[in-house]
Amino acid sequence: MYDDSEADTYIMLLLSDSNLPTGSFVASSGLESYVKHGFASSSSADVATVNFVRDSLGSYSQSAIPFVSDAHLAVVKFSEVMESDADKEMVAGEERYEAILETLTELDALYHVMTLNHVARRASMSQGVALLTLYSKGFSRPPSMSAFSSTESQDHETRMHKLLDLFKLRVRREETFGHLPVCWGILTAALGLTLERAQYLHLFLHARSLLSASVRLNDLGPYGAQQVLLHAVRPLVAAEATRCRQLRTELLRGVNEGSEDAAFGPANTWPLGEILAGRHDLQHSRIFNS
């Protein structure tokens, strides 16, 4: 018996492993710069960290979740169309691959022009590409394990594998950027994780990597970081996930120029965080890449 929610939970567990080589351990998303500039000095370390997580997560969720959602929805739709084509014994159209790749490339380009911060761009691109590599090297099914699944799910896997390989090729050829939220949407859709869980997990991982950074910066101890994660970050992640669930980019929403999109589209909500993240490279000494 194939249980959807069991599969979903299992994928969640796999993806939340802090040992996955996603490059997040070298990213502090501006926390190192925030501390260095003296913004954490006015209150105790745990309060300062919670404040940072709250403001950083608030801005990140509003700007990145719409891209996670759109990439995820686009890949799910592609997968469904391909499946129904297969039922009707239609030839799997190369144009369908071309079309979905175009959509993903457009999303990626929009995220790039909306991320006007070279440090954040750099971190996002390196983590995005790491996810694509993780899929092809860590999540693909070796032939020796083909007996563990049905033919239909293997067809699905083959299509997803091809799609991610093609997208990765575009990144390697510098035809697209491979930003983290877009790649996360693609990866989670390919693995069959529901959109809601993909959004939620993305926010949790962002918050957790901030806490790990805080420990590496020696602001919080490992126990203190767990306390923050359990008590303060949990309601924050849940609230942000709820708030941003319906947010979409203009590409899939199809809004007209100049329409009131304040409540529905990606936006930056923390100008101070932007300045501090941008100043990361100016630090005389630093341990993180962002």
Binding site: L116, P235, R243, A262, P266, G278, R279
Partner: protein, 314 residues
């Protein structure tokens, strides 16, 4: 590019049009018109450079006001667009003021009087080859409870150039306002030969998350600064200014500090061609940010002359 017919088409309330071109070696306005509550003044033309002040009657915007300005800068012309005093945005109120002559909505019905009306400003710019736009207004000041939406789009052709300043203060200090408005939303979108090269969207409002989480007012998120500015520089005509600011930025070195500096700024290239940069500034006081801008942009003297520079930065 907009055609002449769209530019000269009938203006709605709060609408405005500016079209400037070069005849011989002098800038001329082929269009300069506006309707209440928007007012455009041009006190100054020198050579290929024209100066326009963007004003509003009463010196501020009330809820329901919608300004819609279209600007075309033709081949080789320079336009300097300034405002007089900060753009004040008053508290949002249900309904509309009697004098507010906002057109009815497309459905033909006036908006419900129960809704809080936001204030909206929409500016569209077309900058032709060799054209230069300096958009250097005073900052926006949103009063307690204000709702403000601003959309600015820039369409640059070939070697056209822009200097775009978009900034906001925390409110009326004298009234004890410090980031006490309800909603501020600002979009700056830049296209070069039809390709989008930058889209900056800033949303400042108080998020209602849920009851389990303690409040974190906007004020907490933005302190200790009471003024934030974004400056975009793009195009070949202002490369020397970009080079000066970039040099200054690269010389900065950050050491561990106990307290936040009174003013900080960051600089990022827009794309690898280095044709443009985005600069963000935060300062404890608006005056500090103003002084910083005046100094950082002093290279504009060489480009538009000392007179124009002094009008922008008195």
């Amino acid at each position: 590019m907009p055609t002449q017919t769209t530019l000269t088409s009938r203006l709605q309330a709060g609408g405005g049009c500016v079209a400037i071109s070069v005849h011989g070696d002098r800038a001329v306005f082929s269009e300069l018109s506006s309707t209440y509550p928007l007012k455009l003044l041009s006190p100054y033309i020198q050579d290929t450079t024209a100066l326009v002040y963007l004003l509003t009657y009463g010196g501020g915007l009330v809820s329901g006001d919608e300004l819609d300005l279209k600007v075309a800068i033709e081949l080789g012309a320079t336009l300097v667009l300034l405002s007089q005093g900060t753009t004040k945005v008053f508290k949002a109120r249900p309904g509309r003021r009697l004098a507010c002559v906002k057109p009815v909505t497309s459905s033909g019905l006036a908006p419900s009087s129960k809704d809080l009306s936001s204030t909206r400003q929409s500016l569209n710019f077309h900058i032709a080859a060799k054209g230069l736009l300096l958009l250097l207004p005073e900052p926006v000041t949103c009063f307690r409870g204000a709702l403000y939406n601003q959309y600015q789009r820039f369409h640059i052709q070939d070697n056209g150039s822009v200097v775009i300043l978009d900034w906001i203060t925390s409110g009326r200090m004298s009234m004890g306002e410090d980031w006490a408005f309800s909603h501020y939303y600002s979009v700056n979108e830049i296209f070069h030969n039809g390709r989008r090269i930058a889209k900056d969207v800033m949303l400042l409002d108080t998020k209602d998350l849920n009851l389990k989480i303690p409040d974190r007012p906007l004020n907490d998120r933005l302190q200790p600064y009471s003024c934030y500015a974004m400056l975009i520089l793009y195009g070949p005509q202002i490369q020397s200014v970009i080079a000066e600011i970039t040099l200054k930025y690269n010389q900065l070195s950050v050491f561990k500090s106990k307290t936040p500096a009174p003013l900080i700024w960051s600089l990022s290239p827009i794309d690898p061609t280095n044709l443009g940069v985005v600069i963000r500034i935060g300062g404890r006081e608006t005056e500090m940010v103003k002084e910083w801008l005046k100094d950082a942009l002093s290279g504009l003297k060489r480009i538009v002359g000392l007179d124009v520079y002094r009008r922008a930065f008195p």
